[in-house]
Amino acid sequence: MPEFVFAPTIVVIPLLICLVVIELGVSRLLGRSVYTFQDSITSINIGIMSQFVNATGAVISAFMYAIIQAKYGTFTWDLTSPFTWIFALLLYDFMYYWVHRTGHEVNMFWASHITHHSSEQFNLSTALRQASTGFYFKWVFYMPLAILGIPVQVFVIIGLIDLLYQVWVHTRLVGRLGWLELFLVTPSNHRVHHGKNDYCIDKNYGGVFSVWDRLFGTYADERVDEPVRFGIKTPLNSWNPVWSNLHYWVGMFRKAGAQSNWRDKLMCFFGEPVWMPQGSPVGDIEKSVLTGEEMHEPDSPALIRLSGLLMTVVSAGLLVLYLGSKQQLPALVQIFIASFAVLAFASVGLLWSKASRRGAAS
């Protein structure tokens, strides 16, 4: 039996779920409806599944960073100096801006990031809805930090701070924050980022600081006269965590397969998500058209809802156990556990989607 070893992420996961419960309670007290049951449970399940998968991916990122830093790292940084941490945070956030922008503007990277945007709600559970497939490209953007010699422990801690900061901005309960809007990412300007209104598309990519958006012309203020509608332009319409990660990939490969020449095939992967081959009818692509103004929230039997909740609680517990013991597990066992988690979520997601469709039909 592997020994349980404490890791920061072990505290973070239950803490985030507690924050979701607190926001839900506050929203009820304020009489505002910002949560729907299935959407939120799906978001949390997607988040838990991504942790099972990305636990290995994160190790790969840190491993690559450490090697490149040791090989090419140019300067020596004093870990006790505040300058080191401030500089690292600024540079990390600047690179995050480009990772995030690439995640929206290059189709094969959008295929991963779309998972985070597929919720039609905007609340703290949306922050947990993270892709399981994003780790394969993100690490390369942070290599400038490694080449400058910023130590791997600074990189990991700053990355965690940047990530945790981004949780609280996923809320509708906080309005505009005055002068802070000028340089920080806030709930208001992040709502714009998650909007599918035309003025919201490809805006506000910042992680902690919004100055990057202002510098590179991607900043947009929230409009009072036009409420933000959340989600993606072609709605996911599924509660399946695995499908939410894969649906765009499947569509992208199908689209590439249908092209007759290599240039168009490559454009399907590296072009913008709005790219279509010449002569194609416009209208069936992500970001080009709004379909489905109604939210995907069909009624499901209470038993199905209960099973979803149970799945969340059990899988969150298993995730904590897994993260606490995974360092002592062989790589093959880790892969097996992550695959089993994906399979379990796929099965429950399928069951849920079927029940939801039956519920909607009846």
Partner: protein, 199 residues
Amino acid sequence: MNSLALSDGVLLIATLAIIMKPSASTGIRLSAAVFAAAAFLGALRFSTLLPLPGMHSFFSGLGASAAYPLLAAAFLWPDSAVAQSWRFASIFLIIAGAFGLVASALEFNLWGNFLAIVAVVALLCRSIKDKDVIAAMGSGSLLAALLLFSSQFSLPPVLQPGDFLHLFMALGLTLMATRSLRFPQQPTALSRVNQASLD
């Protein structure tokens, strides 16, 4: 000041000249920018003005594993999105650079050399096929740079292996750029769209 600093300076001037020529395609200018960064850091390093060996090695590696293939792609397919648009040239550079970093992390150091030689041989074959003397001389120069450096050829005490790499690269890139400047490509419909919407 040693010969490596001077020859890196020559390479820097040659690459800067290519970057500043607006008629050179975007892909060629971006690959020249990577070589320029490596040459600039090399000049600083070998002149001992500001030695940053890690950064110099990184940009040299990026040049071999990403900038050479980008240069070849931009010459071989001058109408392609990679040749014409900043967006696609950058994506190419990032992805090729990522593969280069993985190879470097796995200590597979031949990866960069292999890609650089394949790219230059492809350029040479195309130039010969097109009976383009200047391009053939340019790509031949680039190939000579790589081969002389790989074989650690030197003329002591005047020229070190790195000098041959820098000088033949400077000559090769200048000739290749001259070739591309003499017959600038007409923008295609796709490249016009890319330039307008993405650059």
